[in-house]
Amino acid sequence: MTAAKEDFRLGCGRADFRLESKEIRRQDVWRYLGYRGSVPDAAVREAVEEAIEKLLPVLEARAVYRFFPLEIIQAEEPFLSFAGIRTKSRDLSKNLSGCHEVILFAATLGPGPDRLIRRAEVSHISEAVILQAVAADAIELVCDRLNEKLRLLAAREGCVLRPRYSPGYGDFPLEVQREFLQVLSAGKEIGLTLTEGLLMAPSKSVTAVIGVGREREAAESED
């Protein structure tokens, strides 16, 4: 693989998604609501359907991503370096072993769901809880669709992707969120910001790192 070709992916992009009702995974929504393996009664199932119909029109699913080279700096305590972020996270190192690049992405449903849920918290708390579960599945769906788009991009270069890994998972500290959002210009690009307490606002949002490895090496390191 030539250097020029590798450069291809050192880019960035924006993606907007339109979600349809049929894509929302009911089983997952039910699971978020506490139903593990069991099916809710008709009233709750109907409430879930109503929540989906209310939520979809108010969400604006937007994502931004950017490729960065990944360096593993060998020191007394080895650390990872990408996008100006340095971390000693062992869990992330394991996730990224065999990768030469990472994709950073941020995705959000925009402020609409937050407003809708706040409204329901005042008027119908049960609806708020159900909207919350639907929104959780919707943002996962957005991540999955973005992931698929990136997988295809990477595959064109003979590369494969690792499962996405978010700040706050394992020992990958939440504090990297600041650099994370800044390097993606997430505020300007998709309206995603951080609070003092490092919560994302709008709250129905996800940031993650995806490792990019060459097919053969990735397969080997997974053995």
Partner: protein, 825 residues
Amino acid sequence: MNTTIERLQNERLFWDGGTGSILQARGLQPGELPETWNLTNPSAIEELAYEYYCAGSDIVNTNTFGLNALKFPGQVAKIAASAVEITKRARARAGRPDALVALDLGPTGKLLAPLGDLDFERAVSLYGEVAEAGTKAGADLILIETMGDLYEAKAAVLGAKEHSDLPVCVTFTFDGKGKLLTGGNPAAAVAVFEGLGVSAIGMNCGLGPVEMLPLVREFAALSSIPVIITPNAGLPFVENGKTVYPLSPGAFAAAMRDVASAGVQILGGCCGTTPDHIRAMIEAVADIPYRPQTEKAHCFAAGFSGALEIGKKPLVIGERINPTGKKRFKEALQKHDIDYILSQAIEQEDAGADILDVNVGLPGIDEPGLMQDAVTAVQSVTALPLQIDTTDPAALERGLRNVNGKALVNSVNGKEESLNTVLPIVRKYGGVLVCLPLDEGGIPETAEGRLRIARKIVSAAESFGIQKKNLVFDGLTMAVSADPKLGRVTLQTIRLIREELGLPTILGVSNVSFGLPLRENLNAAFLTMSLEEGLSLAIINPNNDAVMSAYRSYLALSEQDPQFSGYIGCYAGMEKKTSVKKKAGGAPESASDASSAAKDTSDGKTSASGPDSPESGLKRLYEAILKGLSAPAKELAREALKNTAPLELVNGTLIPALDKVGKGFESGRIYLPQLLMSAEAAQAAFAAVRDRMAASGASESAAKGRVILATVKNDIHDIGKNIVKVMLENYGYEVLDLGRDVPPETIVDTAIAEDIRLVGLSALMTTTVVSMEETIRLLREKKPDTKVVVGGAVMTADYAAAIGADYYAKDAMETVRFADRVFSN
């Protein structure tokens, strides 16, 4: 030479083009803050400004887009001064003494509360600091740009205007659907920012000139002030690892011809445009005649996501957020129970209100503070425009300052004192001003007398710089029971104002029936008569079916309801119902529906007593709560209270039903949504009990205990806390809900002041558990006898113990059980 404002108003001016995109090409790293180059690489910044001035830009921005004290603590003044100096040097070197330096202000990168945690006044001061420093350094005007949130842009404009005398321009970034990131549209932007007195308004970034064109036309059609359009060089794509903007200087210039022809006064570029783009654009539009923006007569009110035109189709203003004559509302205000106000807001919007009146005036209350809290909170649950209703000038100012949108102001009258206090406030913040045609001489008895005062108010407003188009006049509804001819005078006033002044009118309709029985009959008829005279805004109770039916019927009969969609949407299939409330969650509304619905769901089991006996009514109520059917539960409780004492109903039916559900939840047979649906049904039944006790003059039974609930400092997720609140209230506790992002001091001070025995704290993440720990530490120190129960996504029993909590509750039911233990001692 003309002043900067005159030039903005009377000349075609050219702004500069992209900065960030060019600096990146000149070595700025991703993630590196461009503003640092004002100090570390000033020559690169000067060179770019120089190139723009040479290309013909009349206005060049300073390199201060992201400059604020959040990103550059302690360095704002230095960087702003340096940036202005650099741009002035470039202007001198280019030999363009005629050209201008614009102090550039972009978004803070934070979301304002209530969506995020940036306080509005903090945002105002962040912008104010930069504006002051840039003005001191010699900038000619201020540009607030790339704004994706109307509220943040409002904070920026206030910050700029309160710290600088320079003209302020503002441009927004819209997506392809014509929406801002937080939902605003061009009409709302124009309404709000003309009101705030900006010198020019428009769009930048996000889109190319071709994609912008439909929005450009909207701005040109709506705006009375000059329009600025600075697009990107098309929609970018990635090629060989680089972001590429597709439009060449020639292509960009050609597209900008269409923008100029659409009636735009001020043109420039944004990302991807270069000095060559600007040069080509200036050449390309040279033969397109300059047209100044004309004054538009539209009167708009706006919420944060859109604008409503006043004076076209008549609109409903919901009057229920008002303590006058409402015991429950007064109590809520005294207890700072904002959620109660919010429930009134939601109910009125669901019932069809277009605008919400907000009145929180009560003797002995901090009305300005409460007005601010109410306005902010109401706007966290509804996008409707608001009407700030107060006689306290301080409360009016706080309301107008904090409102996200363009509000109506209720009200000013013809008295000198009123004019002199209200007009300056409206002049500063903008708004649609409700004018009462009365003065020191009282209320004129004739329509002509009222018209005379109206004319006086118009000229007073204009002399303060408030345009006539932002005035609406009240016809002054009087009680006909006092004098039967007063109804006619009000109607004549509406007609005269419309015919003679050409202005919209407003009425508080229900005053007309004061002192007479079945007031809604008179209110509905009077509303119809007023609408026929051309009434624009009706202040009514949208929850009242008779009045809303009159309103909707009038629209349908006066060709203002295309295809009868409003009327049919509301009333189709309701022929047999007595109640016509707009869908309340699809639940049945009338008592007979309610009991049959509950019967249907009682698994066919019939009680030993007859179907209409009191026993079967209680049984159905019990079932309705188990099934989580709110509307039937309320109706059944009302029915049952005819034969059953309130306390007996609570202890014999409501509590047992709640207990059954609670135990089911604890044993894992019932899930959270069902638990909460049942809780809501019980709430509805409790409300009926409270109404009944209030009606019979009985005092409410004392709470089992008083509990503080709060989501801790820095945490803004409070759904968990709100679930616990509903459950505790159902189990007979009084909850002092302090909200979210609550500082430890507030919690501790309230616990001391109210002598609270139990505090419940919620935190979502490890980063905010720190605040929880701090709160507990402070509480132990200052009020050691108070127990603390904690919960939240990352909490565990061990974690709770480690930070010193008394108890970890894994869900709402556990919190209730713990409260029972605390208060049974």
